[in-house]
């Protein structure tokens, strides 16, 4: 059983489980939207002093922090007891392109560790990709009123046009980054 679960899960197994997560949250009276936790954390940290955007009853959002604590535990469980032995089966074209951009052994880990590591943080490209990347995620998610879970899953499932516009935006930004900016950043 463990051996079976330790294999990489194909899209047709993992994909349908995501709306199950959404539905389970709905059953317990909550909505699926991970980036809300960033706002809640800011609020708990006293950000209400800077903007009334953070001046709300954050106690009602504690459940979501418990949910993401679970997401951390889930990552720990999967990496400890369900670890897959093989590299990620990436497309050949992706591997070739990444090698051309100077990434060693694409797919051996979840992340290119020469960039996403404490050593990598002190390189220009690592700093940009983690610090600026994270900043844009937090800024953009709140500006758009949600992230992949809130818009692409919860919003689209409820046929919300604003969520479709947001998802189109996610792709515009993602394509600009992947095709025009990442080749430059990775060469730094």
């Amino acid at each position: 059983m463990i051996e079976y679960l330790s294999q990489p899960w194909p899209w047709y197994v993992a994909g349908p489980l995501i709306p199950l997560v959404m539905a389970l949250l709905l059953f317990v009276g909550k909505s699926f939207g991970v980036s809300d936790t960033l706002r809640t954390t800011c609020s708990i940290g006293g950000a209400g002093a800077f903007s009334d955007f953070f001046d709300f009853d954050w106690k009602k959002q504690i459940w979501n922090l418990v949910f993401v604590a679970g997401a951390i535990i889930g990552g720990f469980i999967a990496s400890t007891w369900l670890q897959q032995p093989d590299p990620i089966p990436l497309a050949q074209d992706t591997v070739a392109k990444l090698q051309e951009l100077g990434i060693q052994n694409p797919g051996d880990n979840y992340l290119p560790e020469e960039i996403f590591s404490w050593e990598g943080l002190f390189t220009l490209r690592g700093f940009i990709m983690m610090v600026i990347g994270g900043f844009l995620i937090g800024f953009g998610a709140r500006y758009a009123g949600g992230c992949t879970s809130g818009h692409a899953i919860s919003g689209l499932s409820n046929l919300q046009l604003p969520s479709l516009i947001a998802v189109i935006g996610f792709f515009i930004g993602g394509l600009i980054m992947t095709y025009f900016l990442l080749p430059v950043i990775l060469s730094l």
Binding site: L17, A47, I132, G134, I137, F139, R142, A166, I168
Partner: protein
């Protein structure tokens, strides 16, 4: 207390799905934006299709929560600049860091401690948005 155990369990399930589907992988996000593989499109596509069916069924059968209250959905106000600009900024970050907020948490659980830096930066980005929001087009 039981309620918090349910949130924690659902979150744990989510973290396992994100890890085992490799959706937490920077490489999978890069591959998706290059249209080199169907993997991420299969995940998101099947999730959305089944999500639409789930929400429709919940509405048709007026499914109630475990506390007996009706499950409600709040419609979002329509605006193009807010979602398009905000979404594009988010997409730039998503493709750069290779993780959206769910996977950011899950990667930390996977032992990538340095992703705490991405999380801290995302908090700073959220804070900055909160401070500037009255001056941004919505």
């Amino acid at each position: 207390m039981m309620k918090y155990i349910s949130y924690l369990s659902i979150g744990t399930f989510f973290g396992i799905i994100m890890t085992k589907s490799q959706a937490i992988s920077w490489y999978r996000i890069y591959e998706m934006f290059r249209f080199d593989s169907f993997h991420m499109y299969g995940i998101i596509g099947s999730a959305v299709i089944l999500g639409i069916i789930s929400v429709a069924l919940i509405k048709i059968y007026k499914v109630k929560t475990t506390e007996g209250t009706p499950i409600t959905f709040s419609p979002k106000n329509l605006s193009i600049p807010r979602y398009l600009i905000g979404g594009t900024i988010f997409g730039l970050g998503w493709a750069m860091a290779g993780a959206c907020p769910g996977p950011i948490y899950t990667l930390i659980g996977n032992g990538y401690g340095v992703i705490l830096v991405v999380l801290a930066s995302a908090l700073l980005g959220t804070l900055t948005y909160g401070i500037l929001r009255n001056r941004l087009p919505h």
